[in-house]
């Protein structure tokens, strides 16, 4: 088990490690062989009837969009697991880590491949749970625990909104199958529920993809081990929201609401995140913010919605995944080797860590958008699409430009500066990373270069089929190229480089200045989160203090008040007392003995309630009991009366005996006067009387009794009908009744015997 493994180093994480590498690798290979078919525009559908009663199927839709995502998930997954096997392979909890990571990958793959929206949601939540466990992996640290909870609750909230949206969309479209829904875009957009559906879907997507104002959880999620960050932030978790928007685009996209919500949120997130990235010195944190920037950009272009914009989005999606995963893995190696991730400390590592440096620099160049890396193409097409927009051209292009320029500078800060210049002192002496950890960054960097040089491949394999799926039109032509002519986009690129270079040059004073600005800014999201949580706790505590006060008297008051109010209001609302009371016939034939008994009982009851003397109370209870027995006798129930007398005697005796050991009813000088309780009690009494009187109107249906009277002697051989009912017709009641009495005796015995052991129990409790 995990506990013992710490002592003997595991090779590549042991069996858990190998399994974790082989599974995604195998999936990747399998997916790759599907690429040719998909790139020709084929869409593979497959389904398993999961819960047909609820119209839920585990169905798969494999088109350009899902294939692109699935390739990224499994491909980067394989590299990340390879990396983790070395990075965490000897961690005592490594097998658990693998379990969570596999669950996460499984969830992501299911999410992107799902055709059924409920199935998609199921996988969506699988990623939520597994990311919770991954982010909180360093569970000893309070910070990890907090970040994990934050991610869980923020994305969980969105998840719930998404679920509601999915159900509503399903009701509108008449199916949960995407392959059905996506073709009904016009009908859905015209439906009155369209706006709430969009809002709910976007709530899910924005929280998952950390769009402003839900962005704050993502940088905190850096508390996870580096391979997790690399995985969650490049190809998976945070892209799930983007995926959802892209997936739903044909069905719910293309309206003004969609356009403006996405472009504003996306553009703002992109620029805002880039600026925040400039503030950081921890390279991992910087990368986290650049992830936000990328997510913002993707959202921005999904919102823009033209075929060019979608094309650019699909390309940038791949571009970003490649360089971001490489850079995260790189910083993990550096951290591992030097013991720090501070941009201000790390300098000149290139000589000690040449391979890492190569991978980092290639990835960074792609991130900066410099030719001939694929990042350049990505940026060019973003610009091109932005500049050709009819609506919101300045906003979209401007946001893309600002973000790209800042990215250029950030690329220099995080990936170039640490490797060049004079070697600086680090907590641990720098050394090159192991092969297993270098493989990932190198492969990813290599791909960034390859796709830059040969954009036709990525165009045919991924971007074109992806665009068809997201744009909802398989006739859109996609043509990627590194450079063809000097156009507006190219010129804007040059301006970007210049601007980026300037920012890089002044990044230190800029950082200080931003620091001061953000210090002064009163709106802080992360502490705001704490306040929300504190508010929730305070609300919960307040409510519970008042509701569950711990005082029995209040509990009982509430119960009786509920009864009185509910019954009273119902009488009023349902007009239950609509009958004529014939007083004269009611009072007809009343004898003195009747009056006497009634008055005795009532007086006894009232006196019991009001007296502060125990003895008076007991005597009064006795009077009431006997009075009730007399009523039974007067109205032909001798058996009941006898039992009543017996029981009542026992009751009085028991109470009297108990009272020998119990204190007086009231404290000296304090009488039991409670006007409000009096009002409630009278109310309950009045309501009860009223209902009983109402029930007594009209005759009772005596079918049952008639049957008993007829069969009692001929069939059950008893002349006392009450007894026959008890022992024959309703023998099961009597059986239960006996059980109650026996068990009551048993329980009372346990109570009396059990508490003798008071002292030892208390001691045991302390040690337990």
């Amino acid at each position: 088990m995990a506990e013992a493994a710490g002592e003997v180093p595991r090779v590549a994480g042991g069996p858990a490690g190998w399994i974790s590498i082989l599974i995604p690798a195998a999936i990747f290979v399998w997916l790759v062989q599907l690429v040719p078919a998909i790139s020709l525009g084929e869409v593979i559908l497959w389904a398993y009837d999961w819960v047909p009663s609820l119209d839920i199927r585990l169905s798969v839709i494999l088109d350009g969009l899902s294939l692109t995502f699935a390739l990224l998930i499994s491909g980067i997954g394989a590299l990340v697991t390879l990396y983790s096997a070395k990075y965490l392979g000897n961690h005592p909890e490594y097998p658990r880590f693998v379990l969570y990571l596999m669950a996460f990958m499984f969830g992501m793959l299911g999410l992107v491949l799902a055709d059924n929206l409920i199935a998609l949601f199921v996988f969506w939540e699988v990623t939520t749970i597994s990311s919770y466990l991954l982010i909180g992996f360093n569970s000893d640290e309070a910070k990890s625990r907090r970040s994990a909870l934050q991610a869980l609750l923020v994305t969980g909230t969105g998840g719930l909104a998404l679920l509601a949206g999915i159900i509503m969309l399903g009701n509108v479209a008449g199916s949960f199958e995407l392959s059905v829904i996506l073709s009904q875009g016009d009908m859905i957009r015209a439906h009155p529920l369209y706006v709430p559906i969009v809002i709910l879907f976007l709530a899910g997507a924005f929280t998952k993809s950390a769009q402003f104002p839900f962005h704050f959880w993502l940088p905190n999620a850096m508390a996870a081990p580096t391979p997790v960050s690399a995985y969650l932030h490049s190809a998976t978790m945070v892209k799930a929201g983007v995926f959802l928007m892209a997936r739903m685009n044909p069905a719910i996209g293309g309206t003004d609401l969609w356009f403006w919500t996405l472009t504003i949120a996306g553009g703002f997130t992109a620029v805002f995140a880039s600026i925040l990235a400039m503030r950081q010195t921890d390279i991992k944190q910087v990368l986290a913010y650049t992830t936000l920037m990328a997510l913002g950009t993707l959202t921005l272009f999904i919102g823009a919605g033209t075929s060019d914009a979608i094309k650019a989005m699909m390309l940038f999606l791949v571009v970003h995944s490649l360089y971001k995963a490489a850079l995260f893995l790189m910083i993990g190696i550096v951290d591992h080797a030097t013991g720090t991730r501070e941009a201000e400390v790390l300098r000149g590592l290139g000589r000690k860590m040449p391979v890492t440096a190569v991978a980092a620099v290639v990835a960074a160049v792609s991130m900066a958008g410099i030719p001939p890396l694929v990042g350049f193409i990505g940026k060019e097409f973003l610009y091109k699409a932005g500049l050709e927009l009819d609506q919101g051209m300045f906003w979209v292009t401007g946001a893309a430009f600002a973000a790209s320029a800042l990215m250029f500078a950030v690329a220099g800060i995080v990936a170039l500066r640490p490797f060049f210049g004079k070697l600086a002192e680090t907590p641990k002496p720098a050394h090159e990373g192991p092969v297993m950890m270098l493989t990932g960054p190198l492969v990813l960097a290599g791909l960034s270069l390859y796709f830059g040089l040969f954009p036709d491949t990525i165009e045919a394999w991924l971007v074109a089929p992806g665009t068809w799926a997201v744009y909802g039109d398989p006739t859109v032509s996609v043509d990627l190229y590194l450079f063809r002519e000097v156009n507006a986009a190219f010129i804007l690129s040059l301006v970007t480089f210049a601007t980026g270079a300037v920012i890089y040059a002044i990044h230190r004073p800029l950082r200080n200045w931003l620091g001061r600005i953000f210090e002064a800014n009163p709106i802080k999201f992360d502490p705001g989160w704490d306040r929300v949580l504190d508010g929730l706790k305070a609300l919960a505590a307040w409510q519970t203090r008042h509701l569950q006060s711990g005082v029995l008297q209040r509990y009982l008051f509430t119960v009786f008040a509920t009864l009185g109010v509910a019954v009273g209001l119902t009488i009023w609302a349902r007009d239950a007392l609509a009958f004529d009371l014939d007083l004269s016939s009611e009072l007809d034939g009343l004898l003195f003995k009747h009056w006497a008994v009634l008055i005795f009982v009532a007086a006894g009851a009232i006196l019991t309630a009001l007296t502060s003397s125990r003895m008076t109370a007991i005597v009064c209870l006795g009077v009431v009991g006997i009075g009730v027995a007399l009523i039974f006798i007067m109205f032909s129930a001798p058996d009941v009366a006898i039992t009543q007398l017996l029981v009542e005697t026992l009751v009085v005796v028991l109470v009297a005996v108990a009272m020998l050991k119990l204190p007086h009813l009231d404290l000296p000088g304090r009488r039991d006067k409670r006007p409000w309780h009096g009002v409630l009690s009278i109310g309950v009494g009045v309501v009860s009387s009223a209902v009983l009187i109402a029930v007594m109107q009209g005759d009772i249906d005596r079918r049952l009794t008639d049957y008993f009277e007829i069969t009692s002697w001929p069939e059950a051989y008893g002349r006392n009908i009450v007894n026959v009912i008890l022992v024959d017709f309703r023998a099961l009641d009597t059986f239960g009744e006996i059980a109650v009495v026996v068990v009551a005796a048993l329980a009372a015995y346990a109570l009396l015997r059990g508490t003798h052991y008071k002292k030892p129990v208390a001691a045991k409790e302390d040690e337990a």
């Binding site: 505590a541 203090r545 711990g550 005082v551 009982l556 009611e586 009747h594 009982v601 009532a602 009851a605 019991t608 209870l621 009991g625 009730v628 039974f632 032909s636 129930a637 058996d639 009941v640 039992t643 009543q644 026992l650 009751v651 028991l654 109470v655 108990a658 050991k661 119990l662 009813l665 039991d672 409670r674 309780h677 409630l680 009278i682 309950v684 009494g685 009045v686 009860s688 009387s689 009187i693 029930v695 007594m696 005596r702 009794t705 007829i710 002697w713 001929p714 002349r719 006392n720 009908i721 009450v722 009912i725 008890l726 309703r730 009744e737 109650v740 009551a744 329980a747 109570l751 508490t755």
Partner: protein
């Protein structure tokens, strides 16, 4: 008569409720006794009242004479009385033990299961 008994039952329920709402749990027990009686009477009365003709089949007859009291509610009340006694006996024992163990009969002083200090 039904009307007056109904009113009396109402009085018993009101006083029982008042007692059950008291601080002193012994009063709750008093209230319990009263209100149990009231509930039994409710069943009894709901079956309608028939004076002086118990539900018995005379020797030699197969069925009771013309009109006898409704036997079913009587059987139910009998069961309810006995069950009610069982519950009462346990409740009384509990109050008694509770006093011995916690030293009070005042329900607002019984704060062991839900102590005050855990509500910040």
């Amino acid at each position: 008569m039904e009307l007056l008994i109904s009113v009396m039952v109402g009085v018993m329920i009101a006083t029982g409720t008042y007692l059950m709402l008291a601080r002193n749990v012994l009063r709750f027990i008093f209230g319990l006794i009263l209100i149990s009686n009231a509930a039994n009477l409710m069943i009894f009365v709901a079956g309608r009242l028939t004076p002086e003709s118990p539900p018995l089949i005379p020797d030699g007859a197969d069925v009771p004479p013309d009109i006898v009291a409704n036997a079913l509610p009587q059987a139910l009340v009998l069961t309810a009385i006995v069950i009610g006694f069982g519950l009462f006996a346990f409740a009384l024992t509990l109050v008694y033990r509770g006093y011995q163990s916690m030293g009070t009969l005042m329900s607002d002083e019984m704060r062991l299961a839900e102590p005050e200090e855990d509500r910040q």
